[in-house]
């Protein structure tokens, strides 16, 4: 039954051109440079404005130093916090340049510096006021808290931010489930709002000057617009209007299931092969937990197909989805698509459930026979989801498909990094001897992708030609 559906995906192949070449790459890099400069300059502008207003006077005393540290750390942290919100808003204008994994990584990296700035702000503000009032630190803290309700709110916000960062630390993250982490992370929105009153109350940089006022107001509104519209409203509106439902659930191999989602005008999502969606199953227990899934066949105007592996958590329940269940889609996300391709020849590498986007790319990539080589790595051939489809498409399009099964070399033989690299090297060169001139798309477990990426770099494949997709929350 699944068969008739995916072959229709193959038949869909229309002749279309994809722009290639280094010009395309430079254009993309320029776009990134511009976006990154904008946010660097936003921070610089805040600093400049602070200095122009005489933030650091000529005579530097302990008091002025404390005041300046206090205010500057607060201003920079607020600016970066709003950048954080924009980074995580999944706005298409950001998304199409970076892809969700890159913006998410930037978001992760920015977390800790912001906490340091906020702590610096907290300590230096209390110390600055306590020096001015000739009180000790705790007396001053107490009197601030007693005097300003907004400061109480800000302190709660700080605690919230610290909690969010702690819950996101790698060590903690590994232990806690996605769900716990997600719930804790929601408090950061509350914290951002809780921090606003004390900025209005005590921060004359924000309320004191018309230009400053305008800047902060527009930054707050811009961040709010992006997060509220793109992250919340747009997915809801589109899903409600489209009446998205699960139309069919097809068990593939062990522990994998394909889910077909249909809805009115579903082609309006404009998804392409290689992208993924956040899928939210609208059942009482699961509606608040979206999960990322790759499109595993070229999206058509009738359906979007996802292939879901059972990782033991919520994905286990997704194996038993009933047709007719309402769902919500956020997306499409990712640049694991032909927009990043610059070479005519392509090597596609999939491991495990990472096959889903690779499978979609195999069907839709603009290529002549022989241009595309596919490597599919699985531990157990009985787990090789979508293998039959891959075989059929590769046959039809004249692509070479290599299946490598069995336990991973590391597990089997306790290989050192060098030996492992040697093997990977052999495997890759056997499939694509000219891999240096290929675009390589990699999707699989992180450890495996990282290892393959390293080997490819050793083989002199340029960094910009290696595209790897991580499922980033």
């Amino acid at each position: 039954m699944a068969k008739d559906i995916y072959t229709s995906d193959l038949n869909l192949q229309q002749k279309r051109a994809v722009r290639l070449g280094s010009k395309k790459r430079f254009k993309r890099e320029r776009e990134k440079d511009i976006l990154e400069s904008i946010w660097v300059f936003s921070v610089v502008a805040v600093i400049c404005f602070f200095l122009l207003e005489g933030g650091i006077p000529k005579v530097i005393t302990t008091q002025t130093l404390l005041d300046a540290t206090n205010r500057l750390s607060a201003l920079i942290a607020t600016n970066l916090l709003l950048v954080q919100v924009i980074l995580i808003s999944r706005a298409p204008w950001l998304e199409k340049t970076y892809g969700l994994d890159k913006t998410t990584r930037a978001h992760k990296r920015l977390g800790k510096p912001i906490i340091y700035l906020l702590l610096l702000h907290f300590v230096s503000s209390i110390v600055a006021y306590s020096v001015r009032n000739e009180l000790n630190f705790f007396e001053e803290l107490g009197s601030m808290l007693g005097e300003f309700i907004s400061v109480v709110a800000a302190l709660i916000a700080l605690a919230g931010f610290i909690l969010v960062v702690i819950s996101s630390l790698v060590a903690v993250r590994r232990r806690a489930s996605y769900e716990v982490w997600y719930l804790i992370h929601l408090t950061s929105y509350v914290a951002i709002v809780l921090a606003i009153p004390h900025q209005l109350d005590l921060g004359s940089e924000i309320t004191g000057h018309p230009i400053g006022q305008m800047y902060w107001l527009s930054l707050y509104f811009f961040a709010a617009y992006n997060i509220i519209y793109f992250r919340i409203l747009a997915p809801i509106l589109r899903s409600v209007r489209g009446k998205l439902v699960v139309s069919k659930v097809v068990p593939e191999k062990n522990n994998t299931t394909s889910v077909y989602v249909t809805g009115r005008k579903i082609e309006k999502f404009n998804a392409t092969s290689g992208q993924f969606f956040m899928l939210r199953v609208l059942t009482p227990g699961q509606w608040w937990r979206p999960h990322p899934f790759s499109v595993s066949a070229s999206p058509t105007k009738d359906y979007i197909r996802f292939t879901i592996g059972n990782r033991g958590d919520d994905t286990a329940q997704l194996q038993n989805l009933k047709p007719g269940t309402r769902v919500m889609l956020e997306g499409p996300f990712g640049v694991f698509t032909e927009v990043v391709r610059t070479q005519p020849k392509v090597l596609l590498m999939a491991a495990g459930i990472g096959v889903a986007p690779i499978r979609a790319l195999v069907a839709s990539m603009a290529a002549k026979p022989g241009d595309v080589n596919v490597l599919y790595r699985v531990k157990d051939i009985n787990d090789a989801a979508l293998l039959e489809e891959l075989k059929e498409i590769c046959n039809a399009r004249g692509f070479a498909l290599t299946l490598s099964d069995g336990p991973s070399a590391v597990e089997r033989e306790n290989l050192s990094r060098e030996e492992l690299e040697l093997r990977e090297r052999e495997t890759i060169l056997a499939i694509a001897p000219d891999v240096v001139h290929n675009d390589v798309f990699i999707c699989g477990p992180i450890a495996w992708s990282k290892s393959v990426e390293k080997t490819l770099r050793k083989l002199n494949v340029p960094k910009h030609a290696i595209h790897s997709e991580e499922f980033a929350w």
Partner: protein, 199 residues
Amino acid sequence: MRTSAWIAVSAVSLSAISVSYAKGVVPEDANGLAPLAPVATGNPSPSSTADPTSSQSAAPQPSSSASASAAAGGGSGNNPAPKPSKSTGSSGSSASSTPPKPNPPPAPKPVIKTVNSDVINYVTNGLQKNLQISVTFSDATITDIQILQGDTNNGIGKAYPVLIQAAISAQGTAFGNYTGATYTTNAFKTAVSNAISKR
């Protein structure tokens, strides 16, 4: 970001920051309070000092700094300390501002007048605050301002001397905010305008 772009962005940023620092540095701001930007228009210098006779009648003039420092003293000792009591404040100011000396030269004698503002109620975060000031005018020139009642918590007390200086040199309310005491600044400005209108 590419290295070349990164270098360009850093260069621009650093120069922008250093230029703004150079432009923003305030010559003397020893007490480290946020700079007020008095829009110095009109007659910033107290005109009364030009008149030899009025130097006596403008006796409260030097006390403008004295009263400022008094307020500062009240502010610095502030937190658990009792607020500067209203009664002494008002009586002090009225006493000092009414010394019509019995030397009557025919020179045009400036009219010294002390006006108490209304009590300005303002709210910081749900907390009700009162501010009342008395403004001493020499003709139309503000020569002295005293705080009759005001909040002195959290370093707010330190704002008053600066605000008073700013109001005297601006001869009105055209000056910037005291950093960290925005609401108090606003209330102070309201009080000053109120006193001017009552003169």
